[in-house]
Subunit: 339 residues, 2 copies
């Protein structure tokens, strides 16, 4: 069997190349017969990290890229000013079929922009989209788009729903994912111009569309997929991440009020971590997919741990094995032909 | 000194008229010389509640309204089909200057629609807006609009910012409230068409505009006021409320896993309530203002406790005393004349 070749952006994320290399090593060690990892980035730094781990793995290759895009770089600007970044070089490997997938814990906007430009869009896709998992009582709900794809048309929301459905069916084994439209009321007459129009398109589609949901329904598992304009999705995702920060800081403040309070928070910590923090901790999920580009791309949080990087690699592998992009492409092409 | 007359919608909220009457009684008892409360709703039910409390207060009056708008009623439909609702009758008292303010824990959409139609808009206001408080590390941030005022124009966002600034200056004693624009990036070039345009209007205004903020900044106290389209604000508000529900349900699940876990959650409960739940518990705030209509209107959560109702009455009183609407009106009229 041919191994699946996955590029890991070794310069992506706040702790690059530390966690990227560590995660790649775990994946390469766990799946020596199916995976081949290409670490793309500053050769010297990557080799230094590899030496620290004292491993020699036949299925890890290094491809040198002298530049790296930082978290602060402007997505479009960095693409032009840093042509030899790990991002550009790594995506080129995918475009030229030297690898099947690309994973990065780097600057989300830059990965999205670079991937869209370098790999191009899949046939029938107007706009690529990033989906993000939200924890619910019953499992996971994915919101599309959270990648700041703003001023969407209703047609884009329909595409997000279609791509999201294929992704969830294949990756989460949900036979007919329930798709909902995010709005300000459950009735189909509630919403702004975009949602009113999208409601009609979604209703007329072959998707398992269950109607409108409100902001409160994202975390209650009413739907497997919630679609919205990328402005709204991005604001909610960032708001959700900040809830965890606020909770942590509230506990820190409480603990700082005295010895016994500190002791008490320490005693509660394990439970709090298990009950609350775990599900809200976005790195646990191991990356989110960028759907609609001509190649498998997984984007992770800047703070991704080695385990998160490993999970991102496995998610990319699964997307390749299950041919998610091929299925998206066939579905959207078919629709184009119908129209 | 003339007493301030405040109408309390006795039929508003999930437990009406129970909490509405109880809250009105607390306010009337605490401020016998400055407040006069008009309980508007089903006379028999209100009197029955009053009897249960065994109080006779000279500053509580009952105005009969035989119908009541439920939480499920459609805002526009109910206005037409229930002309004698506590909402319509109560607002009429304000319109005809028989009272200075109206507070309700009823159907938010219905209160907003009815108030806008019955009281009319203040001079210079294109759209009324509802603001909601969010807890931050440093205090409170108010988001305008959360009242589902969708498909806003940039001019509306500027109005929200102006009204919000006057409200916060007067009610929260913040001399020059920091106004931020919600977007998907901090740079002024980031956002959708609406935010790009609103950024320019806000920059050119005399407001203390501090630029764009992201979803994560709502809870970190970077700004006193965050403005956005009512679609986004409404989705975030409802999402935020649901976080509390998810946390509660997670703790319940954990507690149900066995005797010792139950005991342990019970032991932690007091701290959790103080550290987390309190700030996220929206009823604590005692209502949010509907700004831009020609009268003081405070809207509360359907689950408002008697204390929350009392706080709503006091907030309404403060808005009357500080002449917030007069100040809004003069500020927006002045702008209209400049244009």
């Amino acid at each position: 069997m041919k191994k699946i070749r996955i590029v890991v952006d070794a310069m992506g994320g706040d702790l690059a190349p530390l966690n990227d290399v560590a995660g790649a090593i775990i994946a390469a060690e766990e799946k020596p017969s199916t995976l081949e990892i290409i670490l793309c980035g500053d050769e010297n730094k990557i080799e230094e990290e590899m030496r620290r781990h004292k491993v020699r793995l036949g299925n890890i290759e290094i491809v040198h890229a002298p530049e790296s895009v930082t978290m602060e770089d402007s997505p479009t600007e960095s693409l032009r000013s840093k042509p030899n970044s790990s991002l550009s070089v790594g995506l080129k490997l995918v475009r030229e079929k030297n690898a099947e997938a690309f994973v990065s814990a780097g600057n989300t906007g830059a990965v999205m922009t670079a991937a869209t430009l370098k790999l191009g869009r899949l046939e029938g896709v107007g706009r690529p989209t990033i989906g993000s998992q939200f924890p619910t009582d019953r499992g996971t709900t994915m919101v599309f788009d959270v990648g700041a794809s703003v001023d969407c048309k209703a047609q884009h929301l329909l595409e997000f729903a279609t791509m999201g459905s294929i992704y969830m069916k294949n990756i989460y084994s949900i036979e007919s994912p329930r798709v909902a439209l995010l709005s300000v009321g459950e009735e189909k007459t509630k919403g702004d111009n975009l949602t009113l129009e999208a409601h009609e398109l979604l209703s007329a589609s072959a998707l398992n569309f269950t109607g409108n949901v409100e902001g409160r329904d994202i975390l209650n598992g009413k739907a497997d997929i919630v679609v919205c304009d990328g402005f709204v999705g991005n604001v909610i995702l960032k708001f959700a991440e900040s809830v965890l920060e606020l909770l942590k800081s509230k506990f820190r403040n409480y603990a700082s009020q005295g010895f016994f309070k500190k002791l008490w928070v320490g005693m509660m910590y394990g439970t709090l971590k298990n009950v609350i923090l775990k599900d809200f901790d976005y790195q646990e999920y191991g990356g989110v997919p960028l759907l609609g580009v001509n190649g498998v791309v997984i984007i992770g949080h800047g703070k991704s741990s080695p385990i998160a990087i490993k999970n991102m690699i496995y998610k990319a592998e699964e997307m390749v094995v299950k041919d998610v992009n091929g299925k998206i492409s066939r579905e959207l092409e078919r629709k184009e032909n119908v129209n």
